[in-house]
């Protein structure tokens, strides 16, 4: 694998067009991530169609650039405007903005950049170490294990999604139902097509994601009149005290560890990762009261956790085909379009792809560091750009991008419907991310469930095999935990009364 990694690395380094593409996509990712209201998932979803005509290597470099760039970019508006550019940077603002108000905006931005780089590399190393191990273990899996892994993934997403577990389950079920629309893969019989011929081919993931995370967000933004954001105008020196930077290495390491760990959990996502990393750091640090008042450790904890989460989220995606977060769900959609199904077989049959992912993440982390250092002040100026051009462009991109997936006008309709669905779900408090997970995991779950029943001819096969039985038990506990916690709190309340 190391040989393949260096081969791919030198291949990319020797190709100026590949390098330029990677730099441009990272730049686009940073800019989009920095703009308030544009999440990393939205950036990735609306720019995804540009990768359709690229070869696999270029597509991975392009998508990884946007993915990682936007994850870092969120910290810029969090520090300068006190508005997180992406959900993953919501904790960065707690200490980043107070630092900016104290005239240390440049310093905060550099702390964020250094921590992002550290977290990015930490996540990459974790990915390189754990992904092959997990993949080789997963190679022994058969249909029952795969079916139960999908159930496990869905139960984890129900638990890890913000808000009520039941509402997350409902959202996941909606995604699963959307995933069953169209021809069944085993019998070739159409389901839930309501005599609409276009539905027989199924509902494509990409227009749904573009609608849920692109169009619905713009609908939400238009609800209220926004006042132009007034952030910190003066950046100050971007060079922090090097000793202070060095002292945060421990913080960065611990937070990166939590970032990777949470990133691996399906659906937990960067928002959970940064919250855990920040809370842990605050718990360990002696002067707790300085957190939230401009402590650079707060910025470092949040950004290291946020960026390490990328490597963590890629691990289950590449090895099991389970997305670690909504962005990796979009990446799965992109890989399917390029004819690749993520799973353990990638590590034996398509090692070239695996090494390209490693190289793309490696180069993107470096590109983000370089672009961040060189263009930090310029990024800050971009935040005051009028939103009319960008939002109109995104609206048109939602339409053109959805069409481009299959050159189908029907997909524009799918995107619009998904957008309205996401908007309404958001209004009643139902999380939208599980819909995407359900849509990704549903067809794999159904195929493996039925294949298991056809081959083994008994439902008890899922509890007869040790791995599937253990995963089923864990899934049950994960789903039942909120109920147990509720009953416990109710009982303790009665006792207190």
């Amino acid at each position: 694998m190391i040989e393949a990694f260096f081969q791919s690395l030198f291949g990319v380094l020797a190709d100026p067009s590949a390098l330029a593409l990677m730099l441009l996509s990272t730049l686009a990712g940073i800019i989009l991530g920095a703009l308030p209201g544009i999440s990393s998932t939205m950036a990735l979803a609306v720019l995804l169609p540009f990768s359709f005509s690229m070869d696999l290597q270029s597509a991975i470099l392009f998508l990884m650039g946007i993915f990682y760039g936007s994850v870092y970019g969120g910290s810029i508006s969090a520090i300068l405007l006190n508005i997180p550019g992406t959900p993953g940077s919501m904790v960065t603002q707690l200490d980043g903005y107070p630092m900016a108000q104290q005239g240390r905006a440049g310093e905060a931005l550099t702390f964020a950049l250094a921590a992002s780089t550290f977290g990015g590399f930490f996540g990459l190393i974790a990915l390189i170490i754990f992904a092959p191990m997990l993949a080789s273990a997963a190679l022994a899996f058969q249909s029952p294990e795969y079916a139960v892994i999908m159930v496990f993934g869905l139960s984890m997403l129900a638990y890890a999604s913000p808000g009520s577990t039941l509402l997350a389950i409902l959202s996941g079920v909606i995604g699963l139902i959307i995933g069953t629309v169209g021809l069944d893969s085993i019998t070739n019989l159409g389901r839930l097509h309501f005599d609409v011929p276009e539905l027989l081919g199924g509902i494509n993931l990409i227009p749904v994601v573009v609608g849920l995370f692109g169009f619905s967000e713009i609908l939400r933004m238009l609800e209220k009149s926004q006042s132009p954001v007034q952030g910190v105008k003066k950046i100050g020196s971007i060079f922090p005290n090097w000793k202070a930077l060095w002292r945060t290495v421990g913080t960065a390491s611990r937070s990166s560890f939590f970032g990777v760990l949470v990133g691996i959990i399906p659906a937990a996502g960067s928002a959970v990762a940064v919250s855990v990393a920040y809370a842990q750091e605050k718990r360990l640090f002696r002067a707790k009261e300085t957190f939230g008042k401009g402590n650079p450790r707060g910025v470092v904890a949040a950004e290291a956790g946020n960026n390490a989460c990328v490597g963590g989220a890629l691990t289950p995606m590449m090895t099991l085909g389970i997305p670690g977060d909504t962005m990796t769900a979009v990446l799965i959609g992109a890989l399917l379009i390029h004819g690749l199904r993520p799973g353990p077989e990638l590590f034996t049959k398509n090692t070239e792809f695996v090494s390209i992912v490693y190289v793309a993440l490696f180069l993107t982390v470096i590109a983000t560091l370089l672009l961040g250092l060189l263009a930090m002040r310029w990024f800050a100026r971009l935040l005051s750009a009028p939103p009319r051009i960008l939002l109109t462009l995104i609206l048109l991109l939602c339409v053109a991008g959805s069409y481009a997936v299959q050159n189908s006008v029907f997909d524009i309709l799918v995107m619009m419907s998904a957008g309205v669905l996401g908007y309404l779900m958001n209004k009643v408090g139902i999380p939208t991310a599980p819909v995407v997970f359900g849509l990704v995991l549903g067809p794999i779950l159904e195929e493996n469930l039925r294949r298991s029943l056809i081959v083994y001819q008994d439902w008890s096969i899922f509890i007869q095999r040790p791995i599937s039985a253990s995963l089923l038990a864990v899934s049950f506990l994960v789903l039942a935990f909120p109920l147990f916690a509720y009953l416990r709190s109710m009982l303790s309340g009665k006792r207190a009364n």
Partner: protein, 182 residues
């Protein structure tokens, strides 16, 4: 009776569902929509004789998973309606829903309506011209919504920006990516 729509994990769900607070009417409508959509889906699955034929031997068939999932949606919807109505009865009614006010909804509805028109215009006139018209409409609206003032130069600047956005996107998709936009 416990309210299962608020998990012990936190009480963010449905916003209004915390213990002791009056629920929102929209929660009832959500339940009704779920029952309607789930029921409609179930009728569609059950009305298809081929799906029942598809179940052979130990294969539960292509209708198995959709049917289970649709039942989950229906049961969830019924439970939600009853749970919210019971809570409203106990707490003395509903609270007004701030999320579904005309002041908040009119512009998103207008965007959706214009996007539907845009969709039909694409089918009739192709991508470019409807995109220019769509941008001409939405560049000034988004500018206004972002709380920025209108200046005299905008009379020329906005149409120019709309034209550039639509042309750039069309050119990028058609000639750089090679997507045969209609």
């Amino acid at each position: 009776m416990p309210n299962w729509f608020v998990s012990a994990k936190n009480d963010l769900a449905l916003g209004d569902q915390a213990q002791g607070e009056r629920p929102k009417q929209s929660s009832v409508w959500l339940g009704v929509i779920l029952v309607g959509a789930g029921g409609g889906g179930l009728m569609n699955v059950r009305a298809d004789p081929w799906l029942a034929e598809g179940a052979r031997g130990t294969d539960p068939g292509p209708g198995f998973l959709p049917e289970i999932l649709l039942w989950v949606v229906v049961i969830f919807g019924v439970a939600l309606v009853f749970s919210v109505l019971l809570k409203a009865w106990r707490c003395g009614g509903f609270v007004p829903d701030g999320e579904f006010r005309f002041q908040r909804l009119w512009l998103p509805v207008m965007l959706f309506a214009s996007l539907v028109s845009y969709f039909f215009a694409i089918r009739s006139f192709g991508f470019l011209v409807p995109s220019i018209v769509f941008s001409l409409l939405w560049v000034p609206i988004i500018h206004w919504r972002s709380g920025r003032p209108f200046l005299r130069r905008h009379a020329l600047q906005f149409p120019l920006e709309s034209l550039i956005i639509a042309l750039a996107l069309y050119g990028l998709f058609r000639f750089v990516i090679g997507v045969p936009l209609p």
